[in-house]
Amino acid sequence: MSKRLVVIGDGMVGRRFLEAVTQRDPSWDVTVLCEEPRPAYDRVRLSAFFDGVSAEELSLASDLPGVEVRLGEPAVAVDRDAKAVRSESGEYPYDKLVFATGSYAFVPPMEGADLDGVFVYRTIEDLESIKAHAEGRRHGVVIGGGLLGLEAANALKLLGLETQIVEFAPWLMARQLDEAGGGILKQHIEKLGIKVDCGTGGSRIEAVDGRLRMETNRDGVAFDTDLIVFAAGVRPRDQLARDCGIEVGERGGILTDLSCQTSDPDVYAIGEVAAMEGMCYGLVAPGYSMAEVVADRLAGGEATFPGADMSTKLKLLGVDVAQFGAFDGPLATTYLDPVNGTYAKLVLSDDATTLLGGMLVGNAEPYPLLRASVGGKVPGALADLLSGGEVDAALPEGAQVCSCNAVTKGEIMGAIHEGCHDVAELKACTKAGTSCGSCIPMLKQLLTEGGVEVSKAVCEHFAQSRAELFDIVKVTGITTFSELIARYGAGVGCDLCKPTVASILASLSNGHILEGEQAALQDTNDHFLANLQRNGTYSVVPRIPGGEITPEKLIVIGEVAKEFDLYTKITGGQRIDMFGARVEDLPKIWRKLVDAGFESGHAYGKALRTVKSCVGTDWCRYGVQDSVKMAIDLELRYRGLRSPHKLKSAVSGCARECAEARGKDFGVIATEHGWNLYVGGNGGFTPRHADLLLSDVDTETLVRTIDRFLMFYISTADRLQRTSKWVEGLEGGIDYLREVIVDDRLGICAELDALMEKHVENYADEWKGVIDDPEKLQRFVSFVNAPETPDPSIEFETVRGQKFPAGTTARSHAAPVALGIPVTLRSEGK
């Protein structure tokens, strides 16, 4: 006869347990009593429900062999003598019983807490009721300023309510943060328009004229609102266990030992309802560990709970918050930057050598390193660690790098030595990085530390680097991808090699990028000559050379934007971006723009973007050269030039540098005697000031040197390598570069000059090439079978008087991140 297993509760942990038990020992005959009307779903991501994620998408359920789930049928009693669980409609005998009943939201005893409009935040049904009630209403209060309260506040904000948080503790997230950290967090939250009152507790709720009024413990402070959400903590659902005489912990929860066994050897408790040696864990990862432990035990194993690392890192309403290791200790050192809204605290041993724990608010970048170093040596200079500066540190072998999956540095280095060469392979063989992902930057660092040379091969189809492919195409004169892959590659290609080859073909002036076979190689942006936006619409950026534009042209842009109902914005590149264009409108929009003398701005391509200018001698009292004319000339010369990554430039009229030329791939600054040329600058992700290549040169030398610089870069850089990284990677650096492109040490300058000449000669506006070509125009439709029909799923709303993708106001700032706790199990004696 098969063994009977009954599980009470189909929540996150119950579900993980069912998966584990059916995998390890399929001989159990399992019945699950599930109180909720639907099987298990991802409660951690519950808030995503307000972001348009459906209940189905949150579901964690799948059909498991030998498991019967009884939906909407709560257990009402357990008869331990008869070894059976009872519901309203049936009785289920068991050999082994598992409690996975989770928690309920705690509502402090308060008059009026049962009124209409008062909610908790735990289930999909709770969220549905909140949503229904919020409809057409204005204001909401969240009681509780912990993790859950902040999530609930975000949800109310998403629903368009003015939101007020009321927290009894003196600061936010008092369990994870100290006063200073809570203060910085509050500063961030208030900036988002959410009001926060700490040190305040609700005392009474009453209904007044169809609204609610909550009085507080503070004299005269009361809130008039439409809706109140309690997020003031959770309590284990241990009543059923109490009723049948199973022991419970002092502070509630079903008491278990490290094997999750309760005071009845045939009964286990897992997840939030378990009081493991008296301690309840309100997070999912320790629950998952418990699920694995019991599954192992039922299969005859001897697993025990490995302990939980309660370290937390999350992004709440767009704010990084992390806490790791000890909360307090013999010595603590802090760093507070109220201007940038960051706070860091490190807890140290009394000799300041061992890291015991800490917290970070506003910038959690050092979190992986710090968390992995808890219990070991402080991994760097305190000042750098605290201020979030560059830290150059080697971790001890035993440090836990991935705490979700309990993987140490030693194990990762072992895997690297056995042949793991990238993050994907490390994930597959060690499981590190597969849960919350916060350790992935660390994995990359360890790959470098392990001496893994990042392969320069473009992808699995080409063993060559981009520079090698460029040479092949140039030397052989191949003009199609199919010939190149047939002769020099393997397979049919992918989203890495196709656009790379498309860009090389374009750099070498092979005609319109949508001509013939080339069309199929282009990234979607290039394919539609516009930038794809999150909702499937596109943005339109006409070129405005040097940022100079006539009033007539400005009016045309305004008229086009009005006619096609486009959102307009001045970009950081001294031009105008129009967003929200439907794919079938793009040719009509460009017809008008081209007729008015505009050209493509190549905002969509890896190509020259803008050459920014300052006003220079024309107007400015300091200007020493005509920076505007120079910027326009350079922009027109290099427009349409395709390159390994985008190219940006700027020209300033004097050393005051108003055009920020030194932050550009090539930047020009006027001098009394001519021009200074700087190369290899970058804003963006890793800002870098450009290096001085030439000083005080005349215009002709300037332009010739830029020609060569660009063509040398295009010929030899890697895929998606900006000039800054390329210059840094040149052996011999800027001096070598000068030898090659100024002194012609390699004898290639004539060829570089010829390549650029060819580009300048062959340039033609890409958009004009499309609107005059009926065959290319055919592709600008949403549907092949209904060319006139716009995509009906695209919707807009109005914000600040302009149109935005629907859901903009509601889009979540909070991405709940699974918390970093080990879920692997360490079995004894195995």
């Binding site: 397979g491 049919v492 290609g493 979607t524 794809l532 949403s782 092949v784 079978n785 009906p792």
Partner: protein
């Protein structure tokens, strides 16, 4: 299982080899149809399950280890054209539709339970 009810989409020649096109079915479903270089055809749901925009047809097609794939143009996850499964996150998949060519016209199985080849 329901017999697929096929809907004609367009002439086969209208599809560019190595590129996709979107089609709107009678019931409002959006399907992304791909013609590969060897003239094989695949059809999957046009909706990017990560960003929930109907843009899959605009992705680049290719192969990963021999499996024909399309990469979403938004966040670049690769999806198998055969099974619809996302190779970067196997818990997510695109719906797969039956697709055939009859007398030069591309037809897509309009019943969504229909799996390619089934």
């Amino acid at each position: 299982m329901t017999e697929p009810r096929f809907e004609s989409i367009c002439d086969f020649d209208l599809l560019i080899p190595g590129r996709g096109a979107a089609a709107l079915l009678g019931d409002g479903t959006q399907v992304a149809v791909f013609r590969l270089h060897d003239d094989s055809l695949y059809a999957v749901s046009n909706r990017d399950p990560f960003m929930r925009a109907n843009v899959i047809s605009r992705g680049i097609v290719g192969d990963r280890g021999g499996e024909p794939v399309v990469t979403s143009p938004l966040l670049k996850q690769a999806f198998s054209l055969k099974s619809g499964v996302c190779l970067d996150d196997e818990t997510v998949a695109l719906e797969v539709f039956a697709v055939e060519v009859v007398d030069g016209a591309v037809r897509v199985g309009a019943v969504s339970e229909v799996k390619a080849g089934a």
